[in-house]
Amino acid sequence: MASTPRRAAILGGNRIPFARQNGAYAQASNQDMLTATLDGLAARFGLAGEHVDEVVAGAVLKHSRDFNLTREAVLGSALVPTTAAYDLQQACGTGLEATILVANKIALRQLDAGIAGGVDSSSDAPIALDEGFRQTLLAANRAKTPAARARALARFRPRQLLPSIPQNLEPRTGLSMGDHMAITTARWAITREAQDELAAASHHNLAAAYDRGFLDDLVTPYLGLTRDANLRPGTSLDKLAMLKPVFGRGEGATMTAGNSTPLTDGASAVLLASEDWAAAHGLAPLAFFVDGQDAAVDYVSGDEGLLMAPVYAVPRLLARQGLTLQDFDYYEIHEAFASTVLVTLKAWEDTEFCATRLGLDAPLGSIDRARLNVNGSSLAAGHPFAATGGRIVASLAKMLHERGPGSRGLISICAAGGQGVVAILEGA
């Protein structure tokens, strides 16, 4: 049996520009956006009519009718209809988790080529029936006699006509993600100025990346958008300083709409393959997938902050790979909030935290901030939950390719439910 693992190569990616909620993609469904993204990828890499083994993608905000979202998108795309597909969902970790899965299958020779992706619409969101109304309808459906059905339906109350709209709340704590992050931000004493600086850098870096054409082969225009609608090239510390805090309470509140990611719509996809498949199709690898790691924290009891899981995942990954935190050319730390990034970095520098929480003899230490999110991240681009992983993987793979063989990049993505996904890529 040919069972020796092999390297999975990242050949490139495609995404549509991310739109602000109720903006250019207000009427586009997840399936529309994912289909357009796959078509763009197929056009860029000549995949129309070619066989790709699997497409793995998902969405966080998902309609029940979209149970087979990725397969339906494949069937509507230029990919051959014999392309297998399935959905995967791990909140904001979806896109990166899908990448890990496809890379692992390639490494294990279960696939030669696959596409990992994600999509989310905060505009075309599913709206559910009021829970009481739903229970009433189900009871009426179960009733065996007309009288029992009438009794069941009599429990209906007009206020139950109000629909239940999805909210960005943790079901177990009733707190929004921003409220959770505000607790962690205060605990780590992250200043407003530091958050605003990171946010401004994200916008300036992404704008510069667009200006020098870095995104030309990563983004395909869609529905009239050619750049991320959230991008503010002209933002400044002064402008950001004027915004009022939206998360946290009182004097100590530091998190604003400027240093938190807005709700956005968008989709992304990444093409991965074995080196043989890439060579046979005349495609050059940009990077190789090295390793990935998940972690989760107990945020429910308040023991740890909701978005702290990547802080725990990274040292495990480094230990397994025999690397230190300083062994990277680029760091891609998803900017759920500016303070998420800053807390993550501060925790890795904290001797006591690293000893008591991460069980390390010495702290992971500092990173060279000039290598962090160098082409911008979610604060500027926006964050359509499941689409962020694919955006980062494709962009980092290209950066590593430009940097040269053997260069290394670290990806860290926090996710709802107290989870985190991290991964290492190596330049090809």
Binding site: Q27, A28, S29, D32, T35, A36, D39, A48, G76, S77, A78, P221, Y222, L223, G224
Partner: protein, 282 residues
């Protein structure tokens, strides 16, 4: 043929009203010697999205194969309501349609559209005429469509034989579609074709149909969307319209491949021998 360039799309309501009011006494044997042209038409994305949704094409920036037909329809109606046009618009039957997409068109293309009437000819069931729509982008011909309309009348001894359709593909359907009651009104809202035969059972009955009928170009576009994801790329289609789809009803799509050409059909679900259209795409 001289061309009149319009400064804005003609109001369809006014054009259609003129066509109805001047329907009688059109007995000419020649076509009006002028084409109508609209320049630098910008694609309205909201309109494009509504069309893509209604016909089940992918929602995106690529113009569906059949979309420019809708863009050119106000000009078609305008040409046909011209007093010099020899047939009455009410009662004209769209019997066939040919489209060639020379290159993929996107919502960013500013299009010039020219429509003219051609080839008035005797037909086995009356007289036929072609309305030819040409779409250019920056002087390059990118799309053309030929819509054949029949004005029913006595068979003419010199009737030219029209291009024959391949047989409707037999066998199991590849898709079963429900065509809802309000489809005519919805497509009228998008296409501007407010012919009363599509709008309501009562207005349709006044025109001699038992119920409202679906627009032919919707049935053609919907069939195309059901059998191909790639029709927005360079390709040629031909549609032969048969019996209208009465609203509401269920229809079946069948398909077959003949060489590089795709043949598709739409037939009645309840009465499979009742054929609505045959389409080829290649």
């Amino acid at each position: 043929m001289p061309v009149t360039t319009l400064t804005s799309a003609p109001s369809l309501a006014r054009v259609l009203a003129r066509a109805v009011l001047t329907a009688y006494g059109r007995t000419g044997t020649t076509l009006p010697d002028r084409s109508l042209r609209l320049e630098s038409l910008r694609i309205d994305r909201a309109h494009l999205l509504a069309y893509q949704r209604l016909c089940a094409f992918a929602v995106g920036d690529v113009l569906p194969h059949t979309y420019p037909h809708v863009l050119g329809f106000p000009l078609q109606a305008s040409v046909m309501s011209d007093r010099a046009f020899p047939m009455a618009l009410p009662g004209l039957v769209h019997i066939a349609n040919t489209i060639t997409v020379h290159r993929r068109l996107t919502a960013d293309d500013a299009v010039d559209i020219t429509v003219g009437a051609r080839d008035l000819r005797p037909h086995a069931s009356g007289r036929a005429v072609d309305l030819v729509t040409e779409v250019e982008v920056a002087g390059e011909r990118v799309w053309e469509g030929r819509s054949t309309y029949l004005s029913r009348g006595p068979a003419h001894p010199d009737a030219v034989e029209e291009a024959a359709a391949p047989p409707l593909p037999a066998g199991d359907p590849v898709a079963v579609l429900r065509v809802p009651n309000d489809l005519g009104r919805r497509y009228a809202a998008v296409s501007g074709d407010v012919n009363p035969i599509h709008l309501h059972p009562l207005t349709a009955r006044a025109m001699g149909f038992p119920r409202a009928i679906a627009h032919g170009m919707w049935t053609g576009a919907r069939t195309m969307a059901a059998v191909s994801n790639r029709s927005g790329d360079a390709s040629t289609s031909r549609i032969w319209f048969r019996k209208p789809v009465l609203l509401p009803s269920s229809v079946e799509i069948t398909r077959a491949a003949v060489g590089d050409t795709l043949v598709a059909g739409m037939r009645s679900r309840r009465r499979p021998h009742l054929e609505h259209l045959v389409l080829t795409l290649g």
